[in-house]
C-alpha cells in the first residue's frame, strides 16, 4: 500500500462528501414537487408526458397501488426488451446493426431482459458479438434509466411512509418515475457523457474497425472435428458504438452492464484515471445524496448523516481490506516472477496486478471493486476472479450485506431503512419499550415484513448455490476452477444476481440453460419479492400517528445509533453467509498460504 493510493481514496471520498448535500437537497425538492431551476425546460416535457399517457399527477396511491403500478411497468418493459433482442436481426435499420447481428436466442434474451429490468445487468452474453446498437440503446440503456428511476421512486415512497402521518398513500409511482428520470438522471448523464467523450470514450454508429496486427499471432484451437487447428491471426476487430451515453447511466444508475465485454476495464469505456474517478463518483453519487434527501424529507438531517456514517464506515472497512489484500505479493509466485511484478520497486508499487489495468493500479482497482459492489452497479475495471482470496471476498461480502452500503440508487436506501427498522426494534427490546422510529411505533407487522425482506435474500442465494454445487452435469461443469475457488465462483454468481449487482467473478460459464434460468429467477426474486414487503412496511408506517419525542425515544441521529446500525448490518448480512464464506474464500486463503492453488 502506498500513501499515493490512500490519498486517491481520500480524495474520492472528499469529492463525494462535497457533492452529496447539494444533490440530496435538490432531489428532495424534485420529489416534493417544489420549484427547481430546471423547471422551465423540463416542466413542459413532464406535462406533455402526463397528457399523452393520461396520468393525473395529483392522484395519490396506496402502497398496494404503488406496488402494482411498479410491477406492471417492470413487466411491460421486460417484455419490450425481450422482443427487441429477439427481433434485432430483422429490424430494418442497418445503421443501428452494422455488424448484421442475428436475433438473440430465447434463454439469453430472457436472462438479459430480466437482468436489465431488475437493475442487475448481469451479462451472460458478449455484447460486441450479441447486441446490435439498437438493442444496446432501446432494450438496455433505456432500462438503465427506468430501473434506476424505479428504485429511486420506491425509496422516496418509503421515506414518505416515515414522514407522513395518518396517511393511506405514498405518492404517485408514475410521477416519481418521471421526475426522477427527467430531473435527476438525465441532466447528470448529459454532463457526464460529455465529460467521458472528452476523455476518449467512443460515441458513434460506425461499423467495427479492423486493424492489422504489428506482430501476427499463432493460435491453436479445436476445429470442427475436435482436433487442434493452428491458425495465424493477422488482424484484430475493434468494436465501436454509442458507448459514452450508455456508460454515463450505467454508473449513475448503479446498473453496471458494460457496452463491451471487458466492461470498464475496456479503454473505450474507461480510458483514463479521470474517467475512472468520474465513473466511481457517479456510482456513489445518488445513493450518498439519498441520505441527505432522507434527512430533509423526514425533518431530521442528523438522521440522514447517521445513516451516511454507517454506510461510510462499512465502505471504508471494505476498501481498506481489499486494498491491503491486493497490495500483497502472491505467496506462490517466487523467483523471477516475484522480483518483476510482485514485491514492488520504483516505479511500480507492486502487489497482485493479475487481472488489473496498469493505468488504474492496485489502489484504484480495489477502490472500484469496493464501490461497484457496495452499490448494486457491478461494473468492473479489473477481474475479481484474479484477486487474492481475501481481496475477492470483499466484493462478495459487500453484496451479501444486501447492497445497503450506499447500495443501488434507491434500493440501497430502502434496504438500509428496513435494517433501520430492525435496529430500532432491537434497541427497543434492549430497553424494554415499544420501539419507535422517528415517532412511529414499530410493531409486529413491520417487524414480520422486515424479516421477510431480510430472509428472502439468503434463501435464494444459498438454495440455488447448493443445488449447483451438487450437480456435476449442469452446475459444476460450468466451472473453470475447482475446490474453494469454484465454490466462490458459484456463490458469487447467485449473490450478484440476488443483490441485483450483476458483477461476475468470472471463471463460471453462466450462458447455459441452468444458469440463465436460475439466475433469472434469482434476479426477479431478489428485486420484486423484496420490494413488496418493503412497500408494505412503508404503507403501514404511513398510516401511523407520530408520537412526540420522550425520554424513552431511541435517538436515530446519534453515534450510538450508527454503531448499532452498523452492527446489525454486519450480524444480519455477513454472519448469515459466514459458513459459505469459510468454505470458499477463507479456506482458499488458508490453503494458498499453505502452498495450494486451484486451477
Amino acid at each position: 500500500m502506498t500513501s499515493n493510493g490512500w490519498l486517491q481514496i481520500a480524495f474520492f471520498f472528499l469529492l463525494l462528501l462535497l457533492a452529496a448535500k447539494p444533490l440530496g437537497l435538490y432531489m428532495a425538492r424534485v420529489y416534493e414537487r417544489k420549484k427547481t431551476w430546471l423547471d422551465p425546460v423540463l416542466g413542459p416535457v413532464e406535462r406533455l408526458l402526463y397528457r399523452i399517457t393520461g396520468i393525473n399527477p395529483d392522484t395519490e396511491m396506496r402502497w398496494t397501488e404503488y406496488g402494482a403500478a411498479m410491477l406492471i411497468f417492470s413487466c411491460a418493459t421486460l417484455l419490450l426488451s425481450y422482443a427487441i433482442q429477439r427481433l434485432q436481426g430483422v429490424i430494418p435499420i442497418v445503421r443501428l446493426n452494422p455488424q448484421h447481428l442475428a436475433g438473440v436466442e430465447p434463454y439469453l434474451a430472457w436472462n438479459t431482459a430480466v437482468s436489465f429490468t431488475t437493475n442487475t445487468n448481469w451479462q451472460s452474453y458478449v455484447p460486441e458479438s450479441t447486441m446490435s446498437y439498437l438493442s444496446q440503446m432501446t432494450a438496455l440503456a433505456t432500462h438503465n434509466f427506468w430501473s434506476a428511476a424505479t428504485g429511486m421512486a420506491l425509496a422516496i415512497a418509503f421515506i414518505r411512509g416515515i414522514s407522513r402521518r395518518e396517511s393511506k398513500t405514498l405518492g404517485n409511482f408514475w410521477v416519481d418515475l418521471t421526475r426522477g428520470t427527467l430531473w435527476v438522471l438525465l441532466p447528470i448523464c448529459i454532463v457526464s457523457s460529455l465529460a467521458l467523450v472528452s476523455q476518449g470514450v467512443v460515441q458513434n454508429f460506425k461499423p467495427y474497425d479492423t486493424a492489422k496486427l504489428v506482430e501476427p499471432q499463432t493460435v491453436t484451437a479445436p476445429g470442427a472435428d475436435g482436433k487442434p487447428v493452428t491458425t495465424t491471426v493477422t488482424t484484430q476487430t475493434i468494436a465501436q458504438g454509442p458507448t459514452a451515453s450508455q456508460e454515463a447511466i450505467k454508473e449513475l444508475g448503479t446498473n453496471g452492464g458494460g457496452f463491451f465485454n471487458a466492461n470498464s476495464a475496456h479503454p473505450f469505456e474507461n480510458p483514463t484515471p479521470l474517467t475512472n474517478l468520474i465513473e466511481m463518483l457517479s456510482m456513489f453519487l445518488i445513493p450518498a445524496a439519498f441520505c441527505v434527501t432522507l434527512g430533509r424529507m423526514v425533518g431530521s438531517p442528523g438522521h440522514g448523516w447517521a445513516v451516511f456514517a454507517a454506510m461510510s464506515v462499512l465502505w471504508f472497512a471494505g476498501v481498506a481490506t481489499c486494498y491491503w489484500a491486493e497490495a500483497q505479493p502472491n505467496p506462490l509466485l517466487h523467483g523471477v516472477d516475484q522480483r518483476v511484478v510482485q514485491m514492488g520497486a520504483a516505479p511500480s508499487p507492486g502487489g497482485n496486478m493479475e487481472g488489473k489495468e496498469v493505468r488504474f493500479g492496485v489502489a484504484n482497482s480495489a477502490l472500484w471493486a469496493t464501490v461497484a459492489t457496495d452499490t448494486s452497479t457491478g461494473a468492473v475495471n479489473s477481474m475479481h476472479d484474479s484477486y487474492m482470496p481475501l481481496g475477492g471476498m470483499v466484493p462478495l461480502v459487500n453484496m451479501m450485506m444486501g447492497e445497503v452500503i450506499f447500495g443501488g440508487v434507491g434500493s440501497g436506501m430502502y434496504g438500509m431503512l428496513i435494517l433501520v427498522i430492525v435496529t430500532v426494534f432491537i434497541a427497543g427490546l434492549m430497553v424494554g419499550r415499544t420501539p419507535e422510529y422517528l415517532g412511529k411505533k414499530v410493531q409486529a407487522y413491520e417487524v414480520q415484513l422486515s424479516m421477510l425482506y431480510v430472509l428472502i435474500f439468503p434463501l435464494i442465494i444459498l438454495g440455488f448455490a447448493a443445488v449447483s454445487v451438487l450437480a456435476p452435469s449442469f452446475g459444476t461443469s460450468s466451472l473453470a476452477n475447482h475446490g474453494p475457488h469454484g465454490l466462490s465462483e458459484i456463490l458469487y454468481a447467485y449473490t450478484s444476481a440476488a443483490a441485483n449487482n450483476g458483477s461476475a467473478f468470472a471463471g463460471l460459464n453462466a450462458n447455459t440453460h441452468w444458469y440463465n434460468a436460475t439466475l433469472g429467477i434469482t434476479m426477479l426474486t431478489g428485486r420484486f419479492l423484496m420490494i413488496i414487503p418493503m412497500l408494505a412496511v412503508a404503507g403501514s408506517l404511513a398510516t401511523k400517528k407520530i408520537a412526540p419525542t420522550s425520554v424513552g425515544t431511541f435517538p436515530v441521529n446519534s453515534t450510538l445509533f450508527t454503531v448499532l446500525l452498523t452492527s446489525v448490518i454486519l450480524i444480519v448480512g455477513a454472519l448469515t453467509f459466514f459458513p459459505a464464506l469459510s468454505l470458499g474464500p477463507i479456506l482458499e486463503h488458508l490453503l494458498l498460504r499453505a502452498g495450494t492453488s486451484f486451477s
Binding site: L449, L529, S540
Partner: protein, 34 residues
C-alpha cells in the same frame, strides 16, 4: 414456441408478485396500529 413459454413464465411471475402484494396486505392484523 419457446418464446411463448418464456413470455408465459414471465407473466406468471408478475401475477404471483401481484398476489404477493395482497398476501402481504392481508398479513396485517387488527389493532396493531392503534
Amino acid at each position: 414456441m419457446l418464446d411463448l413459454i418464456i413470455l408465459t413464465v414471465s407473466l406468471v411471475f408478475f401475477v404471483i408478485a401481484v398476489a404477493y402484494v395482497y398476501a402481504c396486505q392481508s398479513l396485517k392484523g387488527g389493532g396493531d396500529n392503534a
